[in-house]
């Protein structure tokens, strides 16, 4: 007794040979037809969002290259971004020159000491001093523009004290004193 599948197998084999033969035959399209199809494809452009997403999603750039490019961009931003103006009290003609200035403060009992002033736009946290060294001395070296500066020490984050070693102090307008620091650079001619 023959099954249904055995009855169809000769036909299946014949169709298979025909399809195999068709696949191997080269497809030649008329030139006009090719041009028409490409024109139609170009006319149906995808939306901007789809094109942007496609551009982002397609792996044109390796992650390593992208990382290098990004790092270079950030470095460029840091190097060439506009600088904050701090020259209102600078000496005329001093330009962008800075002068090393060492500040010391005696505070044997302090846990931390910082200095703030116009050179850091009165940043409430200030620049930390290093210490305490021997005999409770704290110190820091700053690079300051030549000119007149006002500053004050912050002891343990709460106590504001002028520099007792400085040449002069001036009323701060709030009932306390600021230290006056004169940073000269020019030679008097």
């Amino acid at each position: 007794m023959k099954t249904e599948h055995e009855d169809l197998s000769p036909d299946a084999e014949r169709f298979g040979r025909i399809i195999e033969a068709l696949d191997r035959r080269p497809v030649r399209l008329p030139a006009r037809m090719r041009a028409a199809v490409m024109a139609r494809i170009r006319a149906e452009r995808s939306s901007a969002w789809v094109r942007t997403w496609t551009w982002l999603a397609e792996p044109r750039l390796s992650p390593l290259a992208a990382g290098v490019a990004l790092a270079a961009g950030i470095v460029a931003l840091l190097l060439f971004r506009p600088q904050v103006q701090t020259g209102s009290r600078e000496l005329a003609g001093a330009g962008s020159v800075t002068v090393p200035v060492r500040l010391v403060f005696l505070a044997p009992q302090a846990a931390r000491v910082a200095v703030t002033g116009d050179f850091v736009r009165w940043d409430p946290t200030g620049i930390p001093l290093v210490g305490p060294h021997q005999n409770g001395v704290w110190s820091v070296e700053l690079q300051l523009s030549p000119g007149l500066h006002h500053y004050i020490f912050i002891v343990d984050g709460t106590e504001w004290r002028p520099d007792p070693n400085a040449a002069s102090q001036v009323d701060d307008g709030f009932g306390q004193k600021n230290t006056v620091l004169l940073v000269p650079v020019q030679k008097v001619s």
Partner: protein, 219 residues
């Protein structure tokens, strides 16, 4: 793909952080009420060519010291008046000379330290354009604070500048003078021993503002 999106997000965060850094400092540190009041004073001061950063700094200083709003605004307003007066004083003394913001701030500081306006004006009038006026004004205030009469202090500075003494040497005088004061020397003696060069003795006499006063030294 995920790495790329992550990098883009990172770049966005970095750029946003940089933009926040470049925002005017007073906007980020002052509360809206103080900011509005300080802005009004600064806008007024701008018309008078007063150094604006000094006013901003005074407001920032008050905020850092946790001073109440009213006192911050009062201090900024007071400084604005002092800077305006100092600018007028310097401008009147030398109408054609260039005037730097630092010189105006230094003159205001000197006036705050009880130096008479006439001595600031005379010093401005006699200090050459090439000499650092900021140093001269600041040391004038330092010497007056240490008990030297303002006219004599001003004349000493003028003598030193005329003799070609460096700005650094002039700036060091108050600290050197403190050595003498600490052992009980009278201010004039302490000053004399702190000078980098001996000055010629001349008789003391009041000096007119114009024409150029004769230079005198310590008695």
């Amino acid at each position: 793909m995920r790495v790329f999106v992550g990098l883009v997000v990172l770049a966005h965060a970095a750029i946003a952080a940089l933009a926040a850094q470049d925002r005017p400092v007073i906007e980020s540190r002052l509360d809206p009420q103080t900011l509005a009041a300080v802005r009004a004073i600064i806008d007024s001061a701008r018309r008078d060519s007063v150094p604006l950063q000094a006013l901003e700094d005074k407001a920032l200083e008050g905020a850092a010291k946790h001073v109440p709003v009213g006192r911050i605004v009062g201090a900024v307003r007071q400084l604005s008046v002092e800077l305006r007066d100092a600018r007028a004083l310097l401008r009147a003394a030398a109408p054609r000379a260039a005037l730097a913001d630092g010189e105006i701030v230094a003159a205001a500081d000197t006036r705050r330290r009880a130096v008479p306006a006439v001595e600031v004006s005379r010093l401005r009038n006699h200090v050459p354009a090439t000499a650092p006026l900021v140093v001269a004004l600041t040391v004038l205030g330092d010497l007056v604070q240490r008990g030297i009469p303002a006219d004599q202090a001003r004349e000493v500075i003028e003598e030193l500048i005329a003799a070609g003494v460096s700005a650094q040497q002039i700036a060091d005088i108050p600290t050197r003078m403190d050595v003498g004061l600490r052992v009980g020397a009278p201010p004039l003696d302490a000053l004399r021993s702190a000078l980098p060069i001996p000055l010629r003795p001349v008789q003391r006499a009041p000096t007119p503002l114009r024409p150029n006063p004769s230079r005198r030294a310590l008695p």
